[in-house]
Symmetry: C2
DNA sequence: GTCTATAACAGGATAGAC
DNA sequence: GTCTATCCTGTTATAGAC
């Protein structure tokens, strides 16, 4: 949770050189975009010659895929954990669901807050993850799209639960879930550590906005 | 308002060749991004040789700037018009404002609906306008940022008015305005004409969501 | 205004020494 | 595993004929 984001997301990557390359690539891609970034730039940031890059990654695109994959996995994990009921959730007979501890409202609030925090704290990674997908090759792109669908489904599930229990009042669940996702994702585009709000403050504000969007009766 | 967006935004551009280049560039930039687009590609789409491009635009970046400028001007105009009171708005003594015809709630709804519609209907242009700014040179970038601030201020103004009249209940006006902008802008990222909703349906949904975010008492 | 041809150069990826 | 040197392709932008 450093403010000068050195992004611990890739802390566990094995050869030290590979990790440095990943970190350099994330920064370069976030600043300039994938296509405007040269392999010389990436290698330079990692303190290596351009050639050394190819020992660890077959192409520049593979580097992007690695970043995208790990980034998406992290953000899905953050969302999944936060969206869980604190106790267990059991399905009741007719398809409606009973909550044991956390109702849908706190689950939604926790999910949005955590997801937004992740996008703000890791805005460098998140920017690459969210806005450079088009540069992936077809196969890698499909892999990532599958991960993205998971996030959407998780969020939609929380909204569905809340409507079923009467906590939420939503006309268009799918559309609202998409809108809440939009809101969270867009944080990566504009967030700056120099801005007037901390990641957690934005998370708290957005959690409140999401509850309002869900028609939560305060 | 064609579904197969041929984007009338640039209909008035004077030499026919210049307009075709602009249109080709918008499509190419939206599909591949600025840096991944070649001048050959743009010229090809306009039915010209690469060299002909430089008669009409000094550089590829100038083409992007032109698109960005016109696009921003259009979207600001759309937002401004929609956010106006239908009658005149007069300031009352203490800084609070009286509405004559349209209250703040319908103004917010109209503004969001129109802004979202624009981003959906012109999603090709909008994508370039919103996501390729980083490729502009410093001077051009500043020009565009000034236009963007205008949009934010317009939206914030509507929220402030609504809070002053008691129509809205907002703790953090600036943050909420930013969030509503986010929501609208992000439409350009994911909208597809093949999707299940029309631009106007999305606009209507988002207008409702914005009212909820603003704490409008229905 | 548009074309063909080309200058001038940058960038991804590899070869081969160490 | 890393370096230096380099290949080779593709790119922006210009020159000069029509």
């Amino acid at each position: 949770m450093t403010t000068v984001e050195t992004d611990e997301s890739f802390g566990g990557v094995t050869p030290d050189a590979a990790r440095r390359l990943l970190l350099g690539a994330v920064q370069a891609f976030a600043e300039r975009g994938f296509h405007a970034t040269t392999t010389r730039d990436i290698a330079g940031r990692a303190g290596m010659s351009p050639a050394a890059l190819y020992i660890h990654y077959k192409t520049k695109e593979e580097l992007l895929f690695h970043i995208s994959r790990v980034g998406h996995e992290r953000s899905v994990a953050v969302l999944t954990e936060a969206a869980q009921s604190t106790g267990a959730t059991r399905r009741a007979g007719g398809g409606a669901r009973e909550e044991s501890t956390g109702g849908s409202a706190p689950r939604l609030a926790r999910a949005v807050r955590a997801f937004v925090r992740w996008h703000a704290e890791h805005h460098t990674t998140a920017r690459v993850v969210q806005y450079e997908l088009a540069a992936l090759d077809a196969e890698h792109y499909e892999h990532i799209v599958a991960l993205r669908r998971r996030s959407e489904e998780i969020l939609r599930g929380v909204l569905e639960d809340g409507v079923a229990t009467g906590e939420f009042d939503i006309a268009d669940i799918r559309g609202t879930a998409l809108a809440v996702m939009s809101l969270c994702i867009d944080v990566a585009r504009w967030f700056s550590p120099e801005g007037r709000r901390t990641p957690d403050e934005i998370g708290a504000l957005y959690a409140d906005l999401a509850l309002r969007m869900a028609g939560h009766r305060a």
